[in-house]
Amino acid sequence: MSDINRRTARTGERVIINGLFVCAVLSVAVTVGIVAVLLVDTVQFFRHSSLVEFLTGTVWAPGQGAGEDGRYGVLPLLNGTLMIGIGSIVVGLPLGLLTAIYLSEYANPRVRGVLKPTLEILAGIPTVMVGYFALQFITPSLLRPIFGDERVFIFNAAAGSIAVGLMILPIIASISEDAMRAVPSSLREAAFGLGASRRQVSLRVVVPAALSGISASVILAFSRAVGETMAVTIAAGNSPKVTWNYFESIQTLTASIAQTVQGEVAAGTVRYDALFALGMTLFLITLIMNLISAAIVRRFRQEYS
């Protein structure tokens, strides 16, 4: 292929092709840019604050001025992020999986044709609106009537989890459905031939065969939940603390970044640098999750090829 290219491309065309190559390499520049930006200020941050305190400290109380009066322990923010991650999976995984099984094994083409675009719309709703929905509907009209006004804070992790759970539902549903549809129909037919019902085929043949794809979707969804910013900033609150009470106000990594940038933060202050240390933490967590998910998908593709 590249031989043909070398022989037939005119000089002008070679310039164009090199231009196209630059476009492709620009995406690498973006990655380099992200890592460089995060790294420079993260290093700056750890000149003032110790890495040990950052990783083990249980108080996140950024300083207001240029001084070093703040306390920068990331554990409360990790705790909040983990709560939202787990909470949203608890909401999104069962619903997403049931949707995927229904779409892949039960629904007729007409129903599928309506349901799939509907899920795409749900995935496309701006996160700030989902946050509004959590604050104005989920907490006052769903959580408080069930669990009581005095137990459920106005800003609470449960509302944030439900909101983020609805956002990751389409991710889990669509990737899991793809994995289930990739299961060869000969497996289904063999099971039907042995007298299995549609439920048995779904649960004992299709779901186990698609398990790697399903787990990849869950990890990817968790990574999205960890990176979600607006819904948790609006609905889950801005109180960094170590707790597992879902009715309390918490703060996630992302919400902490959003809260900091809303005030005027001067460049060069520890508080400004802390933004990038949080960004780096977030970037690393999501990167590792995405890599694991991609590795699982790669293995799963080989299974039936």
Partner: protein, 303 residues
């Protein structure tokens, strides 16, 4: 067919089999009901979300739509409007498209048509896949560190559009690659047979055929970008602003930012305004999606 002989041999066993069949049918029915309910919950949630927003915001929007669309923000919720945010979002969308469409299509064409199968290509592809998973707030930090601070653009239209463009790039590359891949090889081979060079083939045959799919993907990526709040919040685009941009270096606001600001205020009247602004944003996104679906259905060539 063995029912008779089985009955003769072991009637008790058959009866147990019969109750198991009954239980199985019950379980099967219960399971399909559970699946249907689980699926419908997502749909109900979406409907409730949209209904809540329309119910909360309709009165505010329909009361005096012209004033709401053409007024600047205000301390008084009754007087507040979305003019600067709406114009800002429109400009952001246009500039974002201008930046990321050529680069995205260029990268896709290179990777699909010209890239040799080597380590560099594999690395670039893996890199694009990873970029698609980076949280939007991290793109905001990139914009803040590089565009706003290092390149001294400040919280401007240019910095905002570049940040959104960088964020949308991986999505557009993936969409463009898919539609380029869908063009059958026969088209390329036919062009080569007529003496066309590889670039002539790409320029005159592959790109026109792949254009509808690419445009559809681009519009969907832009509709995602236009609903984003976090990156714009991080680079520091203003919410309270009483001018429209004359230059790319001017500050702008954006609809999602305004919705976020109004949602965060305690007064119920601001929540109504936030819902009203959300209706406008939803209408905008719906229009963009309709255009994308129209393009896909009307112009996509089926081979």
């Amino acid at each position: 067919m063995t029912a008779l002989s089985t009955e003769a041999l072991a009637p008790s066993r058959l009866r147990r089999g019969a109750t198991r069949t009954g239980a199985r049918i019950l379980l099967d029915t219960a399971f399909s009901a559970l699946l249907f309910v689980g699926t419908i919950v997502g749909v109900i949630a979406l409907a409730t979300l949209i209904w809540t927003i329309i119910d909360d915001g309709w009165a505010r929007l329909a009361g005096d739509p012209v004033a709401f669309l053409s007024s600047y923000v205000s301390r008084l919720p009754a007087r507040a409007g979305i003019r600067a945010a709406l114009v800002g979002s429109a400009w952001l969308m246009v500039l974002t498209a201008l930046f990321c469409f050529p680069v995205g299509v260029g990268a896709a064409v290179y990777l699909e048509e010209f890239a040799p199968r080597n380590r560099v290509t594999t690395f670039v592809e893996a890199n694009i896949a990873n970029l698609a998973g980076v949280p939007s707030v991290v793109y905001g930090l990139l914009g803040l560190g590089i565009f706003a601070r290092f390149l001294r653009m400040g919280p401007s239209l240019l910095a905002g559009a570049l940040t959104l463009a960088v964020m949308s790039l991986p999505v557009i590359i993936v969409a463009a690659r898919e539609s380029i891949r869908a063009v059958p090889d026969g088209i390329r081979l036919g062009a080569y047979a007529l003496g066309a060079t590889r670039w002539q083939t790409v320029r005159r045959q592959v790109l026109p055929a792949a254009l509808p799919g690419t445009l559809t993907g681009t519009i969907l990526a832009l509709s995602r970008a236009i609903g984003e709040t976090a990156p714009l919040l991080v680079i520091g685009l203003p919410i309270v602003i009483f001018t429209l941009p004359n230059d790319v270096r001017d500050p702008v606001s954006a609809l999602p930012l305004l919705i976020f600001d109004w949602t965060s205020r305690p007064q119920p009247a601001f929540a109504e305004a936030a819902a009203a602004a959300s209706i406008v944003l939803l209408a905008l996104l719906l229009a963009m999606n309709a255009v994308a679906i129209f393009l896909r259905n009307r112009y996509t060539i089926r081979w």
